[in-house]
Symmetry: C2
Subunit: 455 residues, 2 copies
C-alpha cells in the first residue's frame, strides 16, 4: 500500500486535469441557458465515481437540475459515509474583473484560479480522489455514498424532496461536506454550527397618496417616521431583540464550547480596519465571534420610501418598506420566529397607519455537537494533517440544506471545509490553493479511518 | 363713476380675452426651452400695466428670468401698495390627463381650464384689472407698484437679489399677493401665516461595503438599524421634537387667534376619509389645523439603503440615507434650526457608524399679524364682497419669497388669495372659477379704499 502523499505525488497531473475538466463546464445554476451544462457536469461526476471505484453511479432527474449519485458498499455492517457536494457554481459577473477567463482554470502563485475552483467543484472533487485512493489501495474502511447536487447556489429547491424520495438509498451514519472554510492554513477549524434565517418584508401605508408636507405635515402620520420607530423598538440598548418570545428556544452554548470557540484567533483592530469602522456593536455580554456564531440577530437589509432623488422634495410619502432578517440559532424554529415577529410588529404599530408583514424566506439553524463521534474523527484527521487541534467555529451564515438533511434523513453532517477566506468564492478571481486542495485529499482518508474506529 | 360690478359686466369679454392671451404663453420656468416665453410674458405684462394706466412699466433682467415692473404714483404722500405676482407656471405633465390642451384656455362649467388659470396668471391678472378700473374711473386712492416675477415655481432664486438692488424703487407700505386660496366660495379666508422650512439629507455609513449578514450580522452596526433609531429618537411619544433648542424661538399663538383659527370649518371624518386613514396623529394638545398651521414638524420625506429589489438578499448595507424636513413657524430661524439638527443628530449617533448631515434647503416662516391695518383692510374688503368675516388661516405650506420680502424690503405682505382647493393647481386640468376671478377683481379696489382710510 502506498501512502496518500505518494499517491498524490504520482497522480498529481492527472488529478488536476480531471478537476480542470469539471471546472471547464460552465454549470451556472441560476442561468437557465446553462441547463445542458448541469447535465454535462452530472455525467462527468458519474464517470468520476465509476472510474474511482464506485459499484454504481447514476444521474437522477429532479424537478430542477440533476443529482449525481454513486455508491460503494463494502460491507453493510460497516459504517456508511454520505458525501454531499454541489457541481453548480455562481455567476461570473463582472467579467472584466477576472484576470483569466473564469472557466479556463489556471495555476498562478500556487493557486487554481477559476469559478468553482473552491466552491464547490474543487472541494467536492477532493472526496472523489480520496475515495479513489482508498479503493485503489484497498484501505476503504466504510461504505461510501456520493450525492452531488446542481442547485446549491440557488437554495437547493428540489434536493429536500429528492432526499425524501430516496431515503432508503441515502441511509448513512454521517454526511460529510466540504463546502466551508478554515480560519487559516496554519489554523485548522471545523464549522460546527450554521445559523438559521427568517426574512420578512414590511410595508407601512399612511395616506392614500404622497401628501404635501406643508399642508398635511404635523397632522398625518408619516409612514417613514412610523417605520423608523417600529424598527427602533425591535431591539433595545443592549442589542437584544425585544420581540416577545424571540429568545425562548435559543440553545445556550456550554461554557466549555464557548471557551473552545474563544480560541479562534481574532484581532479586533484588523477586523475593524478591514471594514473601516471605528467601533464594533452588538449584544452585550458576548464576544464578536459569539455574536456572529451563537446569537441571533435583527438586521434591516433594505429600506425605502418617499423621495430618493436629487435635491429636496417636501412630501409625506404614502408608503414605506423594509426588508428585515434575523439570523437564528439552534433550536429556534424559523416558522415560529416568522410568526412572532409578524404578530408583534403588526400589533405595536399605531392605528394611524396600516402595517403588513410578509415572510419571504426561512431556514433552520444547524449544529454539530463536538462530542459526536464523526466530529471527533474529523478533529483527529485535521490534527494528523495540520499538526494542531482544529478550532470549532460557529459560522454566522446559513446552509439551509444541511438542516434539511437532518430533518428529512435524520443524519448529522460534519462540515470538513478546507477553503480560505482569500479564495474569493462568489467573486471574480475565485481560487483554491493547491496546498489546501491536496491537504484536503490527505485528510479525508484519515477521517474514514478514525470514523470506522470510533463508530 | 361706474361701479366695479358694472365695469366688469361691460368689459367681461375683453378682460377674459386679455387673460387668455397671457395664459397662451407657455411660460414654464423649470424648462429652459421656454426662456423666450418668459420674455414674451414679461412684455405682455408691461403692455397690460401701461394700457391699464401705469406711469411707466419696464422689463428688468435678472440672472434668471425677467421681472415685469410697473407703477403709478398718484401722490407720494399717499400709501403705496406693491403687488407681487408671478407669470411663470408649473410643467403640464402628464399631458394625457388634460381634457383640453393646457395652454388653450377653455371655459367649461363656469371655470377657466388652463395651466396658470389660477396659479398665478389668473390671480395676478385680477390686480391688473382692478388697477385698470380704479385708474379709468378716477378712484385709485393709493400709489401702486407691480412686481411680477418669472421664477416663483422654481423657488424665486433671483428675486431676493433683485429686490436688494431695487429697494428704493420698491418702497411701499404693504405687499399685496394673490397666490393662495380661500376655504370655500362661501367661506372666505385670508392666509395669515406660512411655515418656514429646513431640509436635510443624512447619510449613515457603516462598513466600507455591503456585508454578508450571516458572517457579520450581530457584530457590526447596521446603518439602517442605526438610522431608524436616530430618526425615532428625534420625536417623543407626544409628537414633540426632541432636538435641544428646537422650540426655543417658536412664536406662541394668542388664545384669541387660536379661537379665530378654530373657526375654520373642519370635518375630521371627511379629512380622514379623503386620505384613507383610520386615525390622525400629531403633537398632543393641538388641533389638526393648529398642527399644520402654527406648529413645527419633523417629517422624513424619503429614506433608502440596502437591498430594494425583489425577494430576499441578506446583507448589512454599507450606507443608509434619509431626506428629512421640518416645517418651521414664525420666529424660528431656519439656519439656526438647520444647525441645531445637524449638531444633535451627529452627536447622538453611535461611534460604530459615521453620520453626515447636509442642509439642502431652507426658508423662514411668515406671519401677518391680524391687527395690521392692511390685514384689517383686507378683512373689510372680503366682508363687502362675500358677506362674511374671513377666517384667518395659517397655511402649513411655505412661500419663502414672502419672508424674503420682509427681510430685504422690510414690508409685510397680505395674502389675499381667491383660489379654491378644487382649482387643481400644479395638476392636470388646473382651473379657476369665473366667480372667484370676478369676485377677486371686485374685492381688490375695496381693499385699496379701506387701506387708504386705515393707513
Amino acid at each position: 500500500m502506498i501512502s496518500i502523499e505518494q499517491y498524490l505525488e504520482e497522480n498529481k497531473e492527472r488529478i488536476l486535469n480531471e478537476l480542470f475538466g469539471l471546472i471547464r463546464i460552465p454549470s451556472i445554476s441560476s442561468i437557465s441557458l446553462h441547463k445542458p451544462d448541469m447535465y454535462r457536469a452530472a455525467e462527468y461526476w458519474k464517470e468520476l465515481m465509476l472510474k474511482a471505484g464506485a459499484d454504481k453511479a447514476e444521474v437522477f432527474e429532479t424537478a430542477g437540475n440533476p443529482v449525481a449519485y454513486g455508491e460503494k458498499i463494502i460491507d453493510p455492517s460497516k459504517p456508511t459515509v454520505l458525501i454531499y457536494g454541489h457541481m453548480d457554481v455562481m455567476p461570473v459577473e463582472p467579467l472584466n474583473l477576472w484576470k483569466t477567463p473564469p472557466f479556463e482554470p489556471e495555476i498562478r502563485d500556487g493557486k487554481i484560479f477559476a469559478r468553482g475552483a473552491d466552491d464547490d467543484k474543487g472541494q467536492s472533487f477532493m472526496h472523489a480522489k480520496a475515495f479513489e485512493y482508498m479503493v485503489q489501495n484497498n484501505c476503504l474502511p466504510c461504505n461510501v455514498k456520493f450525492m452531488i447536487e446542481g442547485e446549491e447556489e440557488i437554495g437547493s429547491p428540489n434536493l429536500g424532496k429528492w432526499c425524501e424520495e430516496n431515503k432508503e438509498m441515502l441511509k448513512a451514519d454521517v454526511i460529510l461536506v466540504s463546502d466551508t472554510g478554515m480560519i487559516a492554513p496554519d489554523v485548522p477549524s471545523i464549522t460546527t454550527g450554521l445559523r438559521g434565517l427568517a426574512y420578512w418584508q414590511v410595508e407601512v401605508t399612511g395616506p392614500n397618496r404622497d401628501l404635501h408636507s406643508g399642508i398635511f405635515g404635523g397632522a398625518v402620520a408619516n409612514p417613514i417616521n412610523v417605520l423608523a420607530k417600529l424598527i427602533a423598538r425591535m431591539t433595545d440598548d443592549e442589542g437584544r431583540i425585544t420581540i416577545p418570545g424571540f429568545y425562548d428556544d435559543v440553545a445556550e452554548v456550554s461554557a466549555t464550547e464557548r471557551e473552545l470557540l474563544g480560541r479562534a484567533p481574532f484581532n479586533v483592530d484588523n477586523y475593524k480596519d478591514a471594514l473601516d469602522i471605528e467601533e464594533l456593536d452588538g449584544e452585550s455580554g458576548y464576544s464578536t465571534n459569539e455574536r456572529t456564531g451563537i446569537r441571533p440577530t435583527f438586521d434591516v437589509c433594505g429600506i425605502w420610501g418617499g423621495y430618493m432623488g436629487e435635491g429636496a422634495k417636501t412630501i409625506i410619502p404614502s408608503k414605506a418598506f423594509a426588508k428585515i432578517s434575523s439570523r437564528l440559532v439552534p433550536n429556534q424554529n424559523h416558522e415560529k420566529i416568522a410568526d412572532l415577529f409578524k404578530a408583534h410588529f403588526e400589533s405595536v404599530a399605531p392605528k394611524s397607519v396600516k402595517v403588513e408583514v410578509t415572510s419571504l424566506h426561512g431556514g433552520q439553524a444547524y449544529v454539530c455537537p463536538i462530542d459526536l463521534p464523526a466530529y471527533k474523527a474529523a478533529e483527529k484527521a485535521y490534527i494528523d494533517t495540520f499538526g494542531k487541534q482544529p478550532v470549532p467555529v460557529r459560522s454566522g451564515g446559513s446552509i439551509p440544506i444541511i438542516s434539511t438533511f437532518e430533518q428529512v434523513l435524520g443524519i448529522k453532517s460534519v462540515l470538513m471545509g478546507f477553503g480560505l477566506e482569500s479564495d474569493a468564492i462568489h467573486s471574480p478571481n475565485e481560487n483554491y490553493p493547491l496546498e489546501q486542495f491536496f491537504n484536503g485529499i490527505k485528510t479525508i482518508p484519515k477521517f474514514y479511518r478514525y470514523f470506522a474506529e470510533l463508530s
